[in-house]
Amino acid sequence: MIDTDPKTNTDQKPNTDQKSGCCGCKKLAATKDVPTQSLSRRNLLLKVGAGLNGIAAVLMGVPILGFALSSFARKSPQSWISLGPLDRFPQGETRLAVYRNPVSKPWDGDTAEVPCWVRRIDPATFQVFAINCTHLGCPVRWFQESRLFMCPCHGGAFYEDGSHASGPPPRGLYEYQHKVESGELKVLGGHLPTLAEPL
């Protein structure tokens, strides 16, 4: 009888449970008209059910969190990219150069194009600066006549060698690692420079 009609028990219980105001398990055990066999069976089912759902939560939760937070474990796949032949950069001048981000995807569009400033000091010496102001990342502009980089956002200024000239930036411009290979200027690029992770 107990096994055939467990529903009636569950339907009747809540009223008495609510009065006790707790989880109800102990109250149930004390209630005489409920056979202990059904109680332990229900307890077991509850525990197994809760346990299974716990496992299910882990099975789903871990991959979902892992997927969503995967970029937290920072990976900066940097590689050498060409900025073009050396004769594009006249000596004593600073020119804008553009490279395509080495980790770009086909649907990135224009955002995969990364600009940078190339200063050629003498035939063999270069400096390559990130476009981003070290204050808050806005694009700095080169002014040939005053030989300054100026930032449009909060008025930071840098000298032609990238060092801090005035304004709020906490340091000089970010400088790319670079090398000259088979007549081309190459930089090590692949991530947005920030104070935590300069180039």
Binding site: T111, E113, V114, L136, R147, P152, H154, S166, L195
Partner: protein, 481 residues
């Protein structure tokens, strides 16, 4: 027939019971006030945002290569696309504004006090979520400002100690601003944050129903934990009126006016942007955030460098903690703002600070006027009757880009002081020193100017004074004489 349908539905849906527990619940008659309409107004804005946002998502493409084009399509090709974009933009502006009023009203009326602590806390988190919607929404309008705005966000994250680099990667969904960054912000703006808002809003409304609406506070009536709940219950029992239909009238009028205002603004001002295409190689741009974030943009230009990281990272945490935990350190006592002068001062101060910073942010006097050196001319009066050397200096002040930061005749940058009367402030020697060495916010030009150029520049600047004002004098020379 209709009656039988209604009864059939009633039997299954228990509408009467639902109504009694929600719209028909009793509220203190004092809440029938124009000050109590901002909550429902905010809710209405949110519903409007869901409606227009859903429609926009029919057309918008969350891909860095197509987003800008799809916004242009919405503006120019899609039937009424411009209108929905405009309503969505103005809806967000009104939502932030009305929500701020709601926050100020509940603060000044002491509504956060016992037993409505959780209503306040959930409201504060809702406010943050709404600002989150504003920022993520600004990114979805994927133009130049959005692109560089992401860079600014990443730069701020990069200042967090120890895990800064990881946070930058988490925010950008990778090592650069690219397609996955936009997809991430799309998901946040369309699924994650609205989901959180709906959940929190349900809790917020549920709490309003369980704890009752705050009565219009009378000066001198003190909240005590021992007695407040029973006093409130008795008052509602005795004098309470059903929210619908007795009190909802003013909410309805306000909501109606709100929709009319939003639609009017949308029709008159049209959609916002997009500005230039989000191509990072187009560097001739001066990124600026939407008005909600202008105060932050402004404060970042005005703070001394050593305070920046603290103000960016620690101050907001402290400020938010003070706001959210308010009912836990000021949960009882006087409710009325008439007896809480400090509360009024705090609101006025906060309002003045943000308004002033937003005003400054609009004009950004700290930013160099990037085109002034070639686009702004020297006033003729400043050239008339000058010697050859002085005229050469006048040319240098243009060509060396001095005008980008210094104005003449009211035109040019405002980063540095105007030069119209510079000769009354600095002597010949001081001018030379200032040009060569710079100081404060001025770069040193010693390396970039030949001695002859400095001589010409200073000769010109020494003529910059009104005829009735004497030039600056060297005080040591005067003493010797």
């Amino acid at each position: 027939m209709l009656r039988s349908i209604a009864l059939w539905l009633e039997k299954r849906l228990h509408i009467t019971k639902l109504f009694e527990a929600t719209g028909g619940h009793k509220v203190p008659p004092s809440t029938n006030s124009w000050f109590y309409v901002f909550g429902s107004g905010t809710l209405l804005c949110f519903l409007l945002q869901i409606l227009t946002g859903t429609c926009l998502a029919f057309v918008y493409v969350p891909s860095t290569s197509q987003a800008w084009t799809s916004l242009q399509y919405l503006n120019n090709e899609q039937f009424l696309g411009w209108f929905l974009r405009a309503v969505h933009n103005w809806g967000s502006i009104f939502m932030v504004a009305i929500m701020t009023l709601h926050l100020i009203q509940t603060f000044l009326f002491g509504a956060y006090k016992y037993p409505r602590e959780l209503t306040w806390v959930s409201g504060c988190v809702l406010f943050l979520c709404t600002l989150g919607m504003a920022f993520t929404g600004q990114v979805l309008r994927f133009d130049q400002d959005a692109y560089w705005g992401l860079g600014i966000g990443a730069s701020i994250m990069g200042r967090v100690p120890f895990i800064g680099a990881q946070l930058v990667h988490l925010m950008l969904a990778g090592s650069t601003i690219a397609s996955e960054t936009l997809s991430r912000f799309f998901s946040l703006h369309v699924f994650v944050v609205p989901g959180m808002i709906i959940a929190l809003l349900s809790l917020h409304l549920r709490l309003v129903l369980t704890n009752g609406i705050n009565e219009y506070p009378k000066p001198g009536s003190i909240v005590r934990k021992q007695s407040y709940a029973t006093e409130y219950e008795e008052m509602v029992e005795k004098t309470g009126v059903p929210f619908v239909p007795n009190v909802i009238g003013k909410d309805l009028i306000f909501s109606g006016c709100l929709v009319i205002a939003i639609v009017t603004c949308a029709l008159v001002f049209g959609p916002a942007g997009p500005s230039g295409p989000p191509n990072p190689t187009l560097i001739h741009t001066a990124p600026k955030p939407d008005f909600y974030f202008l105060p932050i943009y402004a404060i970042l230009a005005l703070l001394p460098a050593y305070m920046e990281t603290f103000i960016l990272l620690v101050a907001p945490v402290l400020g938010l903690a003070a706001l959210i935990l308010l009912p836990f350190y000021s949960g009882t006592g006087e409710k009325s703002y008439r007896r809480r002068p400090m509360a009024v001062v705090v609101v006025l101060l906060a309002f003045l600070t943000t308004a002033l910073l937003a005003y400054l942010g609009t004009f950004a006097p700290w930013s160099p006027h990037m085109e002034a050196w070639s686009a702004v001319t020297t006033p003729p009066a400043y050239i008339k009757g000058r010697s050859a050397l002085e005229l050469q200096g006048a040319i240098l002040i243009q060509s060396k880009q001095c005008r980008n930061c210094h104005s003449l005749g009211g035109e040019g940058g405002r980063r540095g002081p105007a030069l119209d009367t510079v000769a009354t402030r600095l002597t010949h020697d001081q001018l030379i020193r200032q040009v060569i060495q710079g100081s404060g916010n001025m770069p040193a030009y010693g390396k970039n100017l030949r001695p002859a150029e400095v001589t010409a520049l200073v000769a010109f600047m020494q003529t910059l004074r009104p005829s009735y004002q004497a030039p600056a004098r060297d005080s040591t020379q005067v003493a010797r004489r």
